[in-house]
Subunit: 338 residues, 3 copies
């Protein structure tokens, strides 16, 4: 593995197509804060596998197109070279590329919209980063969320962009709680893994395992916190009585999983104190997931990763003075003991 990594890094240094591929793969990895091309490759494999299994090839193609367009836009806009090399201009684009074909019917007009959205996601990344940098806080996936909210919302106003796979706009309605004892342990286990996969809007547990493998090759702690976060989301949703179809699909797991990784082992230095703080954040993310599901129902758009973004911002802002921590490779953070 180390030998392979050395060879790859040597090829990347020569520039050209290999470097461009490296940047793009790191971009996919950064969806989970991993600056690692192999992680990105495994994440892409998860996307392709689930698109194959669900017979939705447009999603796999969209992911690659969104990724390449957003990265290329960053190059054309002469963005910061270090950030570019770390893939920080790819992770929003790949998510735009997955989300658009997931929620819009595969009509011709969808493709230019996807390309436009991926290009704009880079502009939004630069804008949000500039604002949040004032308080030493990263943009997270908010550029993806904001851009894709605009794209999907606009489809409600445009006759040639039919929406597919979102409940029509409706007022929030009372949810009936599913008896806790009637949950099936095996199915809950599947939902647990799906929670990780839903970060890429994937409802497929095999893809979830591929994503966890991608995390493990980069950072075991990231995989651990992903599973802890998804479990916290699952437990919270079951106990509070969320809609059982959402629980089954892992829709209460993906944002807490990201919150747990971000707070637990990326932006703070791992410790018991930090782990408890991350758990508090992950649990509150379940509340914000339920809240945004209700708030966005009347306008007919999904929350995407907004619950993760809002909670992580709120939990990062307070400590930014005391413990500044760059978006560095996670291993370095783990070495420092508190």
């Amino acid at each position: 593995m180390t030998g392979g990594a050395t060879n790859w890094n040597g090829l990347v240094e020569r520039g050209g197509a290999v470097r461009f591929i490296d940047i793009n793969l790191r971009g996919v990895g950064q969806v989970f804060f991993q600056n690692n091309p192999l992680t990105g490759l495994l994440f892409l494999a998860a996307i392709v596998w689930s698109a194959y299994a669900a017979k939705t090839p447009a999603i796999a193609v969209g992911a690659v197109v969104g990724l390449v367009v957003s990265t290329t836009t960053a190059i054309l806009l002469r963005s910061d070279a270090t950030s570019l090399r770390q893939g920080l201009f790819g992770f929003n684009g790949v998510l735009v590329g997955v989300a658009v074909p997931t929620f819009l019917a595969p009509v011709p007009a969808m493709w230019p919209l996807l390309v436009l959205g991926a290009a704009v996601s880079t502009v939004v990344m630069l804008a949000v980063s500039k604002v949040m940098k004032s308080w030493g806080t990263p943009a997270l996936t908010f550029p993806f969320v904001l851009t894709t909210w605009f794209l999907i919302l606009s489809a409600h106003s445009f006759g040639r962009l039919p929406i597919d796979g979102i409940a029509p706009p409706h007022l929030p309605q009372a949810v009936e709680a599913f008896p806790i004892v009637d949950f099936n342990a095996a199915l809950l286990g599947v939902s647990w893994i799906k929670g990780v996969a839903q970060v890429f809007l994937i409802d497929n547990w095999v893809a979830g395992l591929l994503i966890l493998l991608g995390l493990v090759v980069s950072s075991v702690w990231a995989a651990v916190f992903a599973l802890l976060g998804s479990a916290a989301g699952l437990a919270g949703a079951v106990l509070l009585g969320a809609a059982v179809s959402d629980i089954d699909a892992g829709l209460y797991g993906f944002s807490p999983a990201l919150t747990a990784i971000a707070l637990g082992c990326v932006f703070y230095q791992l410790s018991w104190r930090v782990a408890l703080f991350a758990l508090l954040g992950a649990v509150f993310t379940v509340i914000v997931q339920g809240a945004l599901d209700a708030a966005l129902a009347p306008v007919g758009i999904p929350t995407f990763t907004a619950p993760f973004v809002f909670v992580t911002w709120l939990f990062l802002l307070p400590r930014a003075d005391f413990e500044p921590h760059r978006h560095e490779p996670i291993e370095r953070a783990l070495l420092k003991d508190k």
Copy 2:
């Protein structure tokens, strides 16, 4: 009184339980910007009285739990000691503790939600303070508003958190204006006092008098501006033809009352010019109250003190350069003449 205050301060200096109680009482007082434990005690008395009168003990218990949890969280997070001692980490928590049992049915799941919300309100306080400090502007009660919006919104998605006491989500509907001449002067007087009490979500005029007493022992001007603001809210709502049940309950008074105090005698130095500016702010708060009532109707949550927060931010931001003013005891501000 002065002797009593001296004795109390002496006990507080020794630390321990008395200091903890002092911090918590100041936290209640800070809902109206008063760094004064006696004020806080009278405010708590108002909450307890109205909970007793309305046979809603959960609200009184919730207030104390929310207060203690948010203060304790601030201690555990090693927050700024001066801010802590002034009660700045208690006022959002006590409001969360009042709001949750007011709008959710008293089911078992409500209590952990209340504790979670109170703890998170301290994190949000730190986060919002950090952002707003960039422009020399305080967080006000926005941490309470944001946290509790998330909590109550989420109840729409969770079957084991039944909502109680909020109109179900609905599209804004035309309101029929009540003839001005048909208003009863005595009832308007009651609504005037209730307007002050509704800061704590209390629909009880005796509690309103207790709150005014709590203001008087700390700052007569704060009481004066509270009454002026509530009157401006009442007058605006009557003249513009707001829903008569909202007018009666004092729901158009509480945000203008807070705006008037904040602008008139806390964050600006009292003068005729400032008083006029505060009046403009209080009147515009009535508009924003009506606006947010309509905007939030489709998602089924109350505005809480958001109209006060938004208007006060807009009216504080412009002058922050010229007249910086710390969140100091109000008496010192009054001493300085312009």
Copy 3:
């Protein structure tokens, strides 16, 4: 013309009523970023003409009242003299003054609301400017948008403020696409010009020509980008299948027109690169227009110029470090070559 300008500037220097008129006329011109009193006069003529043609005199009166009130408020608040002289405290007020009588019935209560809104728009201008200045970005017309959203939203809660000319609150509904081949070229040309006029909420092509003339006397490039932006909006809306009545009225043109001017020749230095960037922004503004139309439908308010504001902020923030550019007369920006 130059002689007339010299004479006028001489009169303005003497102060008094002429200077006050000059400031107000520049305020109207600044709606399109033009610090030019003749431009402002031609814009006012467009407003008066369309009010005359549509028999809505309240709109013309409202425009002048809103303008004068917001400018006077800025003087009373002792705002920055240079900004004041450039008309930067008038453009939000004139838009408030046009919008309120456009969307509220001409009842007595409308007039104090308009005056209150115009005065507050100056406070909001100071507040938003202070915040956005942190990132070298202007407030744009957001003070108008925010203030007027509050005013119109509040009318849903007040019986004595009947709304007129907005669809009642409704959930977003699917739009039927109009066949592209069935569009009439002449009518599209009219919509193209109306797109420019709709910045002032005017559905009248003669007024659109007057506005274009006002731009030409100050900056030919501003007129060119206005037409390019409106064309981009029209083309995008036709291709994506927007509601044909909105297309006809120019409602997809006005925000892209402003985005194109702002990005193309006001805040960046004109070049081919910048022109392409401005075009990307203008096209994305069409998406955001469709998005906000859907998002605001449930609360029954128009988008106003929010799509322009949000997109222009997102497209200005990234480059603010590299190419700082004051809100200067546009001619100077054009002289510098890149």
